[in-house]
């Protein structure tokens, strides 16, 4: 599983880790009952404070996305994520796009129209993976 964090991103690091894990679950790179990397492994890999990784895992557990099994690790709980989680991810992306639009003095309606137009121009190849 590939997790990338960016210190220029306004999201706190633990939120970035949570978002990356959600993304991995939605994309299927992390399946049900699969273990997440250990706190140590991920902290060393990302060069972050282990407490930050623990915080991300705790928060994911609170949201019912993973479960910590004592002494065994942290596991993906439920692929029910699919529907709800895809929607949540889309909302996050939308919020970021909206913030960016506001910065440029654009309103939500203008942004929605522009996304519609851009999507119509965009011809994805058949059967995208």
């Amino acid at each position: 599983m590939l997790i990338a964090i960016d210190t220029h991103d306004p999201r706190p690091i633990y939120v970035q880790i949570m978002d990356e894990i959600r993304r991995a679950i939605v994309l299927g790179t992390l399946a049900r009952d699969e273990p997440l990397p250990s706190v140590r492994q991920l902290a060393v890999e990302l060069r972050v404070n282990p407490n930050t990784v623990s915080q991300a895992y705790r928060e994911l557990e609170r949201q019912g996305i993973v479960r910590v099994r004592r002494g065994q690790g942290t596991f993906v709980l439920d692929p029910r994520l699919d529907g709800a989680e895809r929607a949540a991810m889309a909302r996050d992306v939308a919020r970021r796009a909206l913030r960016d639009a506001h910065r440029h003095g654009l309103g939500a309606d203008e942004l929605i129209d522009a996304i519609g137009a851009a999507a119509a121009d965009h011809h994805p190849t058949e059967g995208t993976s």
């Binding site: 210190t7 220029h8 306004p10 706190v39 282990p50 913030r99």
Partner: protein, 307 residues
């Protein structure tokens, strides 16, 4: 500045607590009324320009420098009256490396150093020496600045002390070695419960492993907060201003900066975001963006002499 920027942390278990530390060197004031709160288990960045008093602060904790005034405690022990016990619990990487025995070889130095620490972890020291690409038969005087820094890191880490005092630990390291050191520190924190006080004038190099920050200028703390709080409360608001608009009498926060361009004002403000937003909006401006500052920008804003 109408200052709600915190310079004290909420009560809790402390690894380090100093109260009103003052230090002069001749006429030069190095520290004035320094009150450091380093929570147990924190990775605390002490940032500030050269000459702000960062190194002196660390030396006071080791009793290498005696304060003129104030008290300093490490794990509840007074650093002056209990200096040996305090030092036994500390791993220190100094800013400067004056070996004084340049003929000595690295391996010999490490053995000599190990003898002082009953908790010295031989296997760990060997692993670090290898990771840091240090050769044991090299003489100390032949070490580059970066190599000397790594030797000190091995000496500081391998006895797994409860407190690490790291003075500019990434100074003189190339990007690859800097990254290696961060990885080592991250791993060290998962293996041994450690509090870290790390001084740096390049906070962005080490921000991912940190959770607290103290901003020091002219021997005084300008801010002392958890990094998460900094991200939430120190923000830039880009606002669009209607013609003939006059500034609100007060903003219920600390305005650190206000940059005015033609129809836009950028405010750098410390405060609760919803409240600042409300006040800006009710003053008649349109808030286009509210975003946290990067650590680099935040440090600059907090160090701004106009503040």
């Amino acid at each position: 500045m109408t200052g709600p920027i915190p310079i004290r942390l909420p009560d809790g278990d402390r690894a380090i607590a100093t109260r009103g530390i003052a230090k002069r060197f001749g006429r030069q004031v190095a520290l004035r009324d320094l009150t450091l709160d380093v929570p147990l288990g924190a990775v605390y960045l002490l940032v500030g320009p050269n000459g702000a008093g960062k190194s002196t602060s660390l030396k006071v904790l080791l009793d290498l420098v005696r304060a003129d005034d104030g008290t300093a405690e490490v794990f509840g022990l007074d650093v002056r009256t209990d200096a040996p016990a305090v030092r036994a619990n500390i791993g220190y990487v100094p800013e400067r490396h004056d070996w004084g025995y340049g003929w000595m070889r690295v391996g010999r130095l490490l053995e000599y150093h190990a003898a002082y620490y009953p908790t010295w972890d031989r296997a760990y020291a060997a692993r670090l020496t290898e990771l840091f690409e240090l050769s044991l038969d090299r003489r100390l005087r032949k070490l580059s600045k970066g190599q000397a820094r790594r030797v000190h890191l091995v000496m500081a880490l391998a006895h797994r002390p409860a407190l690490l005092l790291l003075d500019e630990p990434t100074d003189g390291l190339d990007p690859v070695m800097r990254d290696e050191v961060l990885g080592v520190l991250a791993q060290h924190l998962t293996e041994s419960p450690t509090t870290v006080l790390l001084s740096t004038h390049h906070p962005t190099e080490v921000e991912t492993i940190a959770d607290h920050i103290g901003v020091l200028r002219d021997g005084e703390l300008r801010a002392q907060v958890p990094l998460a709080t900094l991200g939430r409360h120190l923000r830039r608001y880009r606002t669009e201003v209607p013609e003939g608009w006059s500034s609100p009498a007060t903003l219920d926060g600390a305005v650190l900066r206000r940059v005015v361009t033609q129809r836009e004002i950028q405010w750098t403000v410390w405060g609760e975001e919803p409240e600042i937003m409300r006040q800006l909006t009710s003053s008649g401006v349109v808030v286009r963006e509210s975003a946290p500052l990067s650590l680099h920008e935040a440090t600059l804003a907090l160090l701004d002499p106009r503040g």
